[in-house]
């Protein structure tokens, strides 16, 4: 490989800056460098679309599927770093954090970006496992950053459940290797994903079945699928808001990506159980469970954390259904959910800074007291609830219609779950957005640009999807089978 190689930059930029940011003093400098490093990764990620791809090696690969994930990851990573740079200064003023913690925070932010990018580009199921674990560990310490009772409990729960999940995933990975070894031979070749997909038809189906159950449970814990979701609401509610945004928008996608890789491998082997029904069931359970849980939330970040479980349920459901249309809908929904949910968390971050609380009962009449913020929140919630003209409407519509066309009976609980969630979100929104304003009326000093940028993109996607993007997603959907 000669000259400009975006894959290397996507990995080196966050890895190098993670070390640098942990060493440098001064939070203003480090927060700016954090933005700069994220920008470099973003540029490299987008240039992946343009440059010629290197042939898949034993460790790294670039294909149509992971480019989408990397670009989305680096984009939300960049906008969140912009938000975080302006947000985090306020946490210092209120004494919630000290400069030393901020240094640590920025270093960890880049370490997490490195872990996620590595998971996407890895062509080796062992390397992918390590990368997912790295991304998890770096978010665990960030969730516990405030060191309050609640933050520590959340981080501890996240750590324990995340580790158990990751341990089950490793067992699944070992079983996949055991299945591959008689066919491909010993060594690194039998852990390379491209080889696994090419030869999976000859693998022992019984071993593959058990392996997939472990992988689904292991990585499914990280996707936040019910009943393995217990860590997710706590981790979202108690960590710094920029971390809630990347957790929902990005980290869940990383685990989902791992599930998709293994699903593609399973689909090749016709004698093994089809992975679809398991994913459809887990997706539906998560959707309906989370939809009901939305009703009794008292904490605004917890509310949106449950909404993330609901949407991951929809996405896993769509990929479980399979076929070009449902896969297309799943990809689109994943992109839209990442953008919308991180926008909502940006808005919630502003609100929490102004009001000094996350309790829904203490948040009232935001459209009156802070119109710019209040209406942005209304737009975000309308988008995530699946109202037109936003992009989420389009993807949910595709999921529902494609399901009705193929399996009307499954579509009934799906539509039911969507409606329940819709009602819950609006029930909570009316109080927060309208009514008589209460509490402190200050202004938020954090930047509104990332919030509006995300909402604009989601709105644009709802009205007009660029044809190259549609073609790209169609290719990937066909690839996913």
């Amino acid at each position: 490989m000669t000259g400009f190689d975006p894959v290397v930059i996507v990995l080196i930029a966050p890895a190098f800056s993670a070390l640098l940011l942990a060493l440098l003093p001064g939070y203003v400098l480090t927060s700016r460098l954090n933005v700069l490093a994220s920008l470099v990764s973003l540029v490299a990620a987008f240039s992946l679309f343009g440059v010629e791809r290197p042939a898949p090696g034993p460790y790294l690969i670039v294909d149509d599927l992971n480019i989408v994930f990397i670009a989305l990851n680096c984009f939300v990573g960049f906008t969140t770093s912009v938000f975080s740079a302006s947000y985090i200064a306020h946490e210092l003023e209120t004494g919630k954090l000290t400069p030393a913690y901020l240094r640590f925070y920025h270093g960890m932010y880049q370490a997490m970006m490195f872990g996620m990018n590595l998971a996407f580009v890895s062509n080796n199921i062992g390397l992918m496992w390590v990368a997912v674990e790295l991304a998890t560990l770096s978010t665990v310490v960030m969730v516990g950053l405030y060191r309050t009772h609640e933050a520590l409990e959340a981080a501890w729960k996240y750590f324990i459940l995340g580790s158990v999940g990751i341990a089950l995933a490793l067992f699944g990975t070992i079983l996949v290797y055991m299945a591959a070894q008689p066919v491909i031979g010993e060594g690194i070749e039998a852990m390379t994903w491209t080889n696994l997909v090419a030869r999976a038809d000859a693998f022992d189906p019984a071993l593959l079945n058990v392996a997939f159950v472990f992988l689904m449970l292991g990585y499914g814990t990280k996707v936040g699928l019910a009943p393995l979701h217990a860590w997710l609401p706590d981790a979202h509610a108690e960590g710094p808001t920029p971390i809630s945004a990347v957790l929902s928008g990005l980290l869940l996608n990383v685990a989902l990506f791992a599930v998709l890789r293994f699903k593609m491998m399973m689909a090749v082997n016709t004698e093994a159980i089809p992975p679809g029904p398991l994913m459809v069931t887990l997706g539906l359970v998560s959707l309906i469970f989370a939809a009901f849980m939305l009703y009794r939330r008292g904490d605004i970040k917890r509310l949106f954390a449950y909404s993330s479980i609901e949407h991951m349920g929809i996405i896993v459901f769509a990929f479980g259904m399979g076929g070009p249309l449902a896969n297309f809908a799943g990809l689109l929904h994943m992109t839209m959910h990442s953008l919308t949910k991180s926008a909502i968390f940006f808005a919630v971050g502003h609100i929490a800074q102004i009001k000094g609380t996350q309790k829904i009962a203490d948040l009232r009449g935001l459209t009156e007291s802070h119109p710019a913020l209040g209406w942005a929140l209304v737009a975000g919630v309308a988008a995530i609830a699946g109202l037109p003209p936003f992009g989420v409407f389009m993807s949910e519509f595709l999921v529902v219609t494609s399901t009705f066309a193929r399996a009307p009976l499954i579509a009934v609980p799906l539509a039911f779950g969507l409606l329940i969630a819709f009602g819950a979100l609006f029930l909570r929104l009316t109080g927060v957005a309208f009514g008589k304003p209460v509490g402190p009326m200050g202004v938020s000093h954090a930047s509104y640009a990332p919030l509006y940028a995300h909402l604009a993109l989601v709105l644009m996607a709802g009205i007009w999807l660029p044809p190259p993007l549609v073609t790209w997603f169609q290719n990937v959907a066909a690839l996913l089978g």
């Binding site: 062992g126 609640e150 341990a167 067992f171 008292g298």
Partner: protein, 220 residues
């Protein structure tokens, strides 16, 4: 000779399961840490035996790491933490010893039935180690579920990881992952000991996570 070689591998892997079960009925933290050290010693013996069997010298490193870090460094560190925090008190287990033992037996039976059947065509050495490894993983989960104390949960998790390492070494010629997973288990242990316990101790008098359970975030 062939038979004997296999039998020794089985004794070592089965011994690891026994030590896992012994972990279940320890009612003091210090003895629990000692049992974990024994777990690590048996693991390193099992791994070293596999290294010799498979003629895979890199596995000796795994065995060495297991004995140095898991059998010496981490137990010594944990003993120090426990002493400094003054929690040599009894561990309160959520279930009675009898019930947990029954559950553990059920889990061992389950993993034998499942893995021996599923991996029927695999190499017998790998197959039986895999069955034992699954039993160790499940018992590790059981330890984590039944204990309420942060230190014993960490020990449960580390014993679970030992099971994974046994599985990884049994899979013939499995590359990289052995070293990486060992490095990670060390990292995990350090993060837990350094960051969490330290922080929890800083804020609370006890490391018992049920003290944290008071807060659920949903109450208003």
């Amino acid at each position: 000779m062939e038979r004997l070689v296999l039998d020794i591998a089985h004794i070592l892997a089965g011994g690891l399961v026994l030590v896992s079960i012994a972990m279940l009925y320890q009612d003091r933290l210090t003895s629990m840490i000692n049992v974990f050290a024994a777990h690590a010693i048996v693991l390193s013996m099992a791994v070293a035996w596999q290294a010799w069997l498979q003629d895979a010298p890199h596995l000796y490193w795994t065995a060495l790491i297991a004995i140095v870090f898991k059998a010496i460094v981490i137990p010594v560190g944990l003993h120090r933490i426990v002493r400094r925090l003054g929690i040599h008190r009894d561990i309160e287990a959520a279930l009675s010893t009898g019930l947990t033992m029954m559950a553990a037996m059920g889990l061992v039976a389950l993993s034998m039935a499942l893995m021996l059947d599923v991996a029927a065509e695999a190499d017998p050495l790998a197959r039986e180690d895999l069955a034992f490894a699954l039993a160790i993983v499940l018992i590790g989960l059981l330890v984590m579920v039944t204990r309420r104390n942060a230190v014993s949960q960490v020990i449960g998790f580390m014993s679970l990881e030992n099971g994974l390492i046994l599985a990884a070494t049994a899979a013939k010629g499995m590359p990289l992952v052995v070293e990486i997973s060992v490095a990670f288990s060390v990292l995990v242990a350090f993060i837990v000991i350094g960051v969490f316990l330290f922080r929890i101790r800083e804020r609370f008098d006890s490391v018992d996570i049920s003290a944290l359970d008071d807060y659920r975030g949903e109450r208003q």
